[in-house]
């Protein structure tokens, strides 16, 4: 027990959690005795996978925000709304609470998620002046709040199903909807594949008292 100069991690004891059932496994066993899943101390390729998914999501964020997401026909007049103009329209209709909910779910959350994950991934590879506790707290928030972006798609599906009266009143989804759905899917996957233990391996290298 001479390694107590750094906080003891499972890796140094030859132990790890099973990725599926969280059973405490010995690394030399190779697979989990309870559920049969192969065990591995760290998934070092997960940073690359996560980056790949994240970059794809970041690219898709542009079509998702620049193209219209709904096409509304009202008494013969057609209006195409992007995510932002739709929210803007709601503000003009004095539906401020709804506008805030939609703004959070469809603009703020995806952008924060991509930005936050990029920061987290950068922090794994390079030294950043941000405490790891903050990063980890941010990661948990991202993981939890990410799914709420689905709100916009649900609302679109409800309105598209209800409002179908041809020239009089009609609502349809538009190209950005697919891009937006993919942004949600890819960012959720990016957070899911990432092995967060990689960040904490760097903890012992001097500047971290946090």
């Amino acid at each position: 027990m001479s390694k107590l100069s750094r906080p003891p991690q499972g890796e140094s004891l030859g132990l790890t959690n099973c990725p599926t059932c969280k059973f405490l496994c010995h690394l030399d066993q190779g697979s989990c005795p309870r559920c049969g899943q192969a065990v591995q101390s760290r998934d070092r390729t997960s940073v690359q996978k996560s980056w790949a998914l994240l970059i794809t999501a970041a690219i898709l964020l542009f079509p998702a925000n620049l193209y219209p997401i709904t096409i509304m026909t009202s008494q013969g007049q057609v209006r195409q709304d992007t995510i932002f103009s739709g929210i803007n329209h709601l503000v003009h209709l004095d539906l401020l609470p709804i506008a805030i909910i939609l703004f959070t779910a469809s603009i703020l959350v995806p952008m924060l998620k991509i930005f936050g994950l990029a920061l987290y991934l950068t922090a794994i590879s390079y030294r950043l002046p941000i405490s790891k506790k903050t990063l980890m707290a941010g990661f948990h928030i991202i993981e939890w709040i990410g799914r709420w972006s689905m709100l916009d798609l649900f609302v679109i599906s409800i309105t598209a199903a209800l409002i179908n009266m041809g020239q009089i009143w009609d609502a349809k989804p538009a190209p950005a909807a697919t891009a937006f759905a993919l942004v949600i899917l890819l960012t959720q996957l990016a957070a899911k594949v990432l092995d967060t233990r990689l960040l904490w391996d760097r903890l012992e290298s001097k500047d971290d008292t946090n």
Binding site: P7, P8, G10, L95, I98, M136, L151, I158, A161, L162
Partner: protein, 208 residues
């Protein structure tokens, strides 16, 4: 021998791999990782019979919640209704099948499978845990659980219904039917079911 004692007395943080000594906890208290504040474990609170009751109720509610319309709209004398799946189909019919599938999976398929999966697990734990065939099924279900739980988004759909109602109520009259009621009850049942359910505890049943 010594390593076995060690295995029982420590727990590894799944987010940062820190070795933490296990302690007995009073009920209703969670243990957090001292380094990164990730949830480590809590006291097992998983009444099998309670979950069975919740599962059956949820399953009974699932069908009316999905077959009766969740929203009804009256506009210039014509009535439009939609079910959850109907909404997904309407989007898919316009060519946005990615969106349609996402809606269908998150609000219909995943919650249904989640309820069925938990019901099967509970029944196996209650009656058939000793038989290897059922043990295998049980393990397979537990492995899929976190994915299903993550995919099912009833709570978000609930809020979406409210958002749609507020958006549309300026233009037209909206009515809630029996479907809305069943969906709300289903949502409440699933919330309680997931609160009661503890995956670590379900896994530890296998060790006994």
């Amino acid at each position: 021998m010594k390593t076995e004692v060690l295995d029982k007395s420590i727990v590894l943080c799944r987010a940062c791999d820190l070795v933490v000594r296990k302690r007995a906890l009073p009920t209703g208290v969670r243990a957090l990782c001292p380094r990164c504040h990730t949830n480590l474990y809590d006291t097992p609170y998983c009444s099998v019979n309670g979950m069975l009751a919740l599962c059956i109720t949820a399953l009974v509610l699932y069908f009316p919640a999905n077959f009766f319309p969740v929203l009804e709209m009256h506009f210039l004398g014509s009535i439009r209704t939609t079910t959850i799946a109907g909404g997904a189909m309407a989007v898919a019919a316009q060519g946005y099948w990615v969106v349609g599938i996402a809606v269908l999976v998150a609000a219909v398929i995943a919650p249904g499978l989640l309820i069925l999966s938990i019901l099967t697990q509970v029944l196996i734990v209650k009656y058939r845990l000793k038989i290897p065939f059922f043990r295998n099924i049980y393990k397979k279900l537990l492995k899929q659980h976190s994915l299903l739980a993550q995919l099912s988004m009833l709570e978000i759909y609930m809020i979406s219904i409210f958002v749609s109602v507020f958006q549309l109520s300026d233009y037209t009259d909206l009515y809630f039917g029996i479907g809305t009621f069943c969906f709300t009850m289903l949502f409440i049942m699933v919330i309680f079911m997931q609160r009661e359910y503890d995956i670590e505890h379900m896994w530890s049943v296998l060790d006994e």
